[in-house]
Every structure is written in C-alpha cells, then in structure tokens.
C-alpha cells in the first residue's frame, strides 16, 4: 500500500505542472462548493439572527391586503386599523403576550447643534418586549405615558450617535422633535441591519399617542405587532385576530380581508427560500465544474496509462494481477482529485471571507461542507479514474512490454 502510494506520488511529482492543471477543475469546483455552501449557511444564520431580532413568536398585522392583485403593497397605503381594533384585540384574543399598534413618521430631530432625519415609530409599551429591543441604559416608557401622550422617547444607537456622538449615554437628555422637547427615557441596544439591509438602529420610538397627536396627525394604524405566548398558539392567535378584524371591519364572508397577517415563521421561510435558490445556483456551478474537473482527471489518466504502457507491461510480467494495476491507477486518480479537493478547500477558506468583506455576503464555513467537499473529490477520483485504470488493468502483458 505504502509502495503504491509512493509510486502514485512519484507519478504526480514527475509532472507537477500537468498534475496541477489537471487538478484545477477540481480545485475550482471544490472551492465553489465551499463558498456556495458557506454562503447558504451564512445567509441562513443571518436570516435566523435577523428574524430572532424581530422578536419571539411574532405576529404582524398589516393594514390592507398585501396579496391582492399580486401587489405587495408593503405597508398599507391607507391605514385602516383603528384604535377600536387595538382595544378589541388586546381584550379578546387569548394567548397574547403583548400587542402594540404601529404608526410612523419621518421627522427632523434636533439635539444641541446636531440634527438628523429619522423614522419615529409610535407604539405601545409592549412594543419593546414584543420586538426584543434591549436597553443599553434607561428604561421603557409606561402605559401611563401612552395614555398621556407623554413627550418621552427611546432612541436607537445610530440616531443617538448622530445626535450626541459615539458612545455617549443620551438617557435624560432632551431632544427637539418638531419644536417640542422630548425626554430620552431609554437607549436601545444595537440590532444591526435587517433582512432588507436597513439599519434598524436608526430609530426613535415613542408612545403611539404622542406620534399621532403631535407628529403625524394620523388617526389610524398601519400595523399591529403582537407576540403569542408560545409557538403552539401562533395559529390560534392568527385565527382569532382575523376573526375579530373581519367582524370589526364588517367584512362579509364573500369578501377578502382588508388586512394581512404575517407570522415570523412565514417571514423566515420566505427569506430562506430566496437563499435556497442562491445555494442551488451555486451548487449547479460547482457541480458543472466538478464534472469538468473529473473529465480532466480522466483525460490525464488515460494519457498517463498510454505513456506508462511499458511500465504496466513490466509490472504484469513480474506478477502484478489485473487488480493490482487497477488499484495503482485508481489510487493515483483519487490522489490527484483529493489533493485538488484539499487545495480547493483552502481556496474556499480564503475566498469566503473575501466575499463577506467585499460583497457583503454573510458566509459561514461548516465542518459538514468541508467533509462533503472532501468526499465529493474522492468520489470524483474513483468515478473518473475507474475507466483509465480498467484500461490499464486489461492491457495484454506481451503487447504492453513491446509498446514503444
């Protein structure tokens, strides 16, 4: 065995350039496997992180029917969720851990001599809990603040940095929103970018009453965020919400909903489906490259068998059985392809972080993908090396010895 390996290594070393070029197809293919799989896993982990950052067992109710006419209207153009809907849902839906309405306004915010334009979210006191906002310092506003339309706010990390500077605790400071002073009650811990790449930390959160009354003049909500008490009641909660809203909005059974309900699971499924498409595409590329690489190995092994016909003849003459010759050439092909595979894995390790750095794709190289790549390259060696090895093994010793 050791001797066979030695012979195989010698054969590869004899023609380093040729061996390397032969391996190139495998190197590219395996690197593509590593990078592709790492993009898939990286994207999946990123989506999971982002979905988790949205909250736990989250149900979002948007105004307007988002699936109607194939138009994804995003956040309903004409908000139609009312204060009454909010009260009914809060009172009547069982299995809710919390619920909050949402209104939004984009306003100019001033603090000292700094100012920035920022989206202000008007929500209830449950919101921070529902959407998993953590506090860097300070605390949430209260239901009393909501009832009183108090001039308090929570401030996101990016916004705080623009207004007060990096790392300065804004809690207790006063900012000016539309010329009225608002006290900063809480400094939100960073969440990073969301699935659409938007910075979630550029945000000011206020009681919805304050936003509606003082900033936007809205009377209806664009959405509700609700949290179920557990994953098992998600469906039940969704059904209850739909029933109540249909009743409140007086929708007859033959009409479509004028609202949309999205659960967290649906959202993560949606994004993961996107990622799967990407992974499948890259896998297809990798597969093609691996097949091409395998054919390259087969080609060079056929050349090698022809070049070494006389050597094969000598081996057969001194007593090598057909299977000894088969094994020798098979091992050589497998060695070529797994060395190529190993180089491909190294290339993948080197390329994946570059991809993250320059193209912003999240990547994560898993042990599974490395093992997969390695086994794939070994299998390619066996599959594509078999035919040339068989050709070598079936040579007639007399003809092989006479071969010039």
């Amino acid at each position: 065995m050791l001797a066979i390996l030695k012979t195989a290594l010698r054969a590869i070393r004899r023609n380093v350039m040729r061996s390397f070029l032969t391996m190139l197809g495998i190197i590219v293919g395996i690197a593509a496997v590593i990078v592709g799989v790492s993009m898939g896993t990286g994207a999946k982990a990123e989506v999971e992180r982002q979905i988790a950052s949205m909250g736990n067992n989250l149900v979002i109710i948007f105004s307007g029917n988002m699936s109607r006419g194939g138009v994804r209207g995003g956040f309903g153009m004409q908000p139609n969720l009312t204060e009454r809907d909010y009260d009914t849902l809060r009172r009547e839906v069982t299995g809710l851990a919390g619920i909050s309405p949402e209104v939004r306004a984009t306003v100019q915010v001033v603090a000292g001599n700094q100012n920035t334009s920022v989206g202000v979210w008007g929500v209830s006191a449950d919101f921070a809990e529902i959407r998993s906002w953590k506090f860097q310092s300070g605390e949430n506003f209260t239901e009393t603040d909501v009832r009183n339309a108090a001039k308090v706010c929570l401030i996101g990390k990016t916004t705080a940095t623009s207004l007060f500077g990096e790392g300065i605790d804004p809690v207790g400071q006063t900012i000016s929103i539309k010329n009225s002073p608002v006290t900063v009650a809480g400094w939100l811990a960073s969440k990073g970018a969301n699935t659409f790449g938007q910075d979630q930390d550029d945000i000011i959160i206020m009681p919805y009453t304050s936003v509606m009354k003082r900033l936007s003049g809205d009377t209806k909500f664009r959405a509700f965020s609700a949290a179920a008490t557990g994953p098992e009641v998600m469906n039940d909660v969704t059904n209850q919400v739909a029933a109540i809203l249909r009743q409140n909005h007086q929708i007859t059974p033959d009409k479509e909903d004028d609202f949309s309900i999205r659960s967290q699971q649906e959202m993560s499924d949606f994004f993961n489906a996107n990622n799967r498409v990407m992974t499948v595409l890259i896998s297809a590329f990798a597969g093609i490259s691996l097949v091409v690489g395998g054919i390259g190995i087969m080609n060079i092994m056929l050349v090698s068998v022809t070049e070494r016909t006389r050597e094969i003849g000598i081996r057969l003459a001194v007593g090598a059985r057909a299977r000894d010759v088969l094994r020798q050439f098979l091992i050589e092909a497998v060695l070529l392809s797994i060395v190529g595979g190993a180089l491909g894995i190294l290339a993948g390790y080197w390329l994946a972080p570059l991809l993250t750095k320059f193209a912003g794709f999240p990547t994560l190289i898993s042990t599974e993908s490395v093992l997969l790549a390695f086994s794939v390259s070994a299998i390619i060696g066996v599959v594509f090396g078999f035919f040339p090895a068989l050709k070598a093994a079936n040579l007639d010793p007399i003809d092989a010895l006479r071969y010039e």
Binding site: L2, A3, I4, R10, R14, R310, E311, G313, I314, R315, L316, A317, V318, G319, A320, R321, A322, R323, D324, P397, I398, L401
Partner: protein, 252 residues
C-alpha cells in the same frame, strides 16, 4: 528427473482478421531443472512466441504446457500472474527497468506483488541480497540513467532473481550490450546456473549461445535442431581472453 518445462505438441495461432498466422506449429520440448538452454532462430521463427508461452504471458492455442507440473492451459489470468511472480524471472533485451526509480526499488518490484504480502523491511533485505548476487550492492540507490548498460542488465537480473524463481527467462539479454559486457552477463548466468537455476535464453548470436549447455534452433514454427553444446565457452576464460586481446591493442 521430472521436467520443469514440458511442452507437448504446442501450437500457437494468431488470428489477424481473416488471416491465420501459425506462429508455432507443434513443438514438443522437455527442459529439466538445472538446464541452460539457448533458443535460436531468425525473426518469425516462433522463438518469441515460444518464450511468451514458457513465460506464462500467453497460452497455447492447442497442445499442453506444464510448468513445474502445472498445466497452465487451465489457469486464469490471475493464476498466471501468480505463477510468473513465484516461479519465473524475466530478463529483457531492453532491460525494462522503471525509470526514475532506484535500482533497489526496481529489484523490489516483484516482491510488491507476492502473496501473502511481504514486509517493507524484508523486501528491502531480499532486494539487497539479489543486488549482491549480481555484484551491484554498492549501486542500490542509483537510478537506471546513472548506470551503464551492463549494470542496468545486472539490475534486471537481480529483479528476476529476487523471488527465487525456478526458471530464469531471458529474451535477447545481450542484444543491447557490447561484447565484453555481454560476456560478463553470460558469466552471471553461468554462475546462477551452477547454483541450480534453470535458464532459458533467446538469442540470435551464436557465440552467446555457446555459453549455454543446450542449443535449440527454431525455424517456421518448428524445432529444427536440439543439441548439446559441445565446445561450451566459459565466461571467465572468455573474459581473460578478451582482456588479453584488448591489452594487445592498448584499449585498456
């Protein structure tokens, strides 16, 4: 004494399209252990076909061939390979050493395929011993391209001997060598033969055949003469004579 090689009405026919070529047309031949046979003949006489069959590289079309009392007509490819490995040693005209492979590793080659497998250490020891027999133990790590023709042929002989075969088969072993080296190689053969190894050698050089004990001449696929070599040459004497002649013309 039972023959180590026994051919009975051996025939070998090659089919080339519609054409049948009768390379050997009925050869009956017994070779006893310890013989040193030279097979002579023009090209096309069937001597190579005969050698290929004796070497278990080929099988008779009809007739019998028994090597050491085993009928090889019945054997599979693998069984033939095992026979070549254990009972036969080959020496070729073109040496047929593996290039870029040391003399020692070349000699080890047959041991790679012996069954049961031999330890690497034992392989090396036996290969060294075989090189010692042909007087090349100091060249064990030389590559073929660092050796002279005579030395390469002696490495090839060592390779043929390493498995302690019953029969040494040599196909034109001196074909690529000058006269002095040829005599040296014959010296090695005679020494081995004296130690009991049966040798069958194909040659077309009469003087080389004179180093053997028995001369078989083939023509048109049949044996024409089969006789004992009467005025047998001895390599040591022949070498001494060569030295003398070369000294006379100041070659050495």
């Amino acid at each position: 004494m039972r023959p180590i090689i026994k051919l009975v009405d051996f025939r070998r026919t090659y089919r080339n399209g519609a054409l049948e070529v009768h390379a050997v047309r009925g050869v009956t031949l017994d070779i006893l252990p310890g013989e040193f046979v030279a097979v002579m003949g023009a090209s096309g006489s069937g001597k190579s076909t005969l050698m290929n069959t004796i070497g278990c590289l080929d099988r008779p079309t009809s007739g019998r061939y028994e090597l050491d009392e085993v009928d090889i007509g019945e054997l599979s490819r693998d069984e033939l390979a095992d026979l070549r490995n254990t009972k036969l040693g080959f020496v070729f005209q073109g040496f047929n050493l593996l290039p870029r492979t040391s003399a020692l590793e070349n000699v080890e080659l047959p041991l790679l395929y012996c069954r049961p497998p031999m330890s690497a250490h034992e392989q090396q020891e036996r290969a060294l011993a075989a090189l010692e027999m042909v007087g090349l133990s100091d060249r064990a790590d030389h590559y073929p391209n660092q050796l002279s023709g005579g030395q390469q042929q002696r490495v090839a002989i060592a390779r043929a001997l390493v498995n302690e075969p019953r029969v040494l088969l040599a196909d034109e072993p001196t074909g690529n060598l000058d006269s002095r080296t040829s005599v040296e190689v014959m010296g090695v053969f005679q020494t081995l033969n004296d130690q009991g190894i049966t040798i069958v050698m194909v040659t077309h050089e009469l003087d080389i055949a004179s180093f053997s004990k028995r001369k078989v001449v083939m023509r048109d696929g049949l044996i024409r003469t089969d006789e004992v070599v009467l005025s047998r040459l001895h390599a040591a004497e022949a070498l001494a004579r060569l030295d003398e002649e070369q000294r006379a013309v100041h070659l050495v």
